[in-house]
Amino acid sequence: MTSGVDLSRPQAQTVGSDEDVVRVRQLVRTVAVAVKLSLVDQTKVVTAASELARNTLVYGGGGTVEVTAVDNGRRPGITIVFADSGPGIADLELALTDGYTTGGGLGLGLSGARRLVDDFDIQTAPGQGTRITITKWSR
């Protein structure tokens, strides 16, 4: 599973089914290991990716995930972009509130993922789709 991933380039995975969410988790794990994240940090970033990829599938109607090994000159890290062209999020603050869900979930995906990573950026507007970028740096 660790073989065959070219770290010098972003790795893309389409998200169109449940199985794709599993593939995203595996891809993120592989890259997180390669950039030498600690076990706890690997677990955190894979969990965050699982939440966001599921949102891309369920709420965004499918999309793409792109995983990149990065280096800011001081430390390596992993950056993941989740993009869909679904309905977008009208009230972002509300969506980022613990427990808020429109789909009968636990409402912890967005808010929890934000707590699990170092950088969290979200671009969304009604009708414009949603694009979330997260980064976890190795400690």
Binding site: R25, T43, S50, E51, L106, L108
Partner: protein
């Protein structure tokens, strides 16, 4: 779709999750377990997650639902083998797994269920003696 096997060991159903489950697989497990509890009359369910390297909010919710369903079906559920990194992550994610009993390993989980059943038997015995005269409709 892969299905998670459910083993019957004595009076206990043992579920050992060995794969990175898709959401469908998780939902199927929830349904399969409810059926097996009724079919076998087991009073204890142990879900071993030693092999799981993450638990996200979907799987967390599935575990809570299984615990609630089995309680309704008069079975006690214990989740065992959660890894430290998974537990630390769940705390940060904000998932409290309320209403789920946990134990470090299968053995401890069995002890917990046995203690619980003892406790219940004791209560039933008490209740029984009080209720018996008016029990039949």
């Amino acid at each position: 779709m892969e299905r998670v096997p459910i083993l019957k060991i004595g009076d206990i159903l043992l579920v050992s999750i060995q794969v990175d489950m898709s959401d469908q697989t998780a939902v199927a497990l929830q349904e399969d377990l409810a059926e097996r509890i009724v079919a076998t009359g087991c009073h204890g369910v142990i879900i071993d997650i030693t092999a799981l390297d993450i638990v996200d909010s979907f799987v967390g919710r599935m575990l809570s639902t299984i615990a609630s369903i089995s309680r309704v079906l008069d079975a006690e559920t214990v989740v065992v083998g959660m890894r430290p990194a998974v537990a630390i992550t769940l705390v940060e994610l904000g998932l409290s797994l309320n209403g789920i009993r946990t134990a470090l390993n299968v053995e401890r989980g069995m002890e917990l269920i046995a203690a619980e059943r003892d406790h219940d038997r004791h209560d039933e015995f008490d209740d029984g003696s009080d209720v018996e005269p008016t029990a039949s409709p």
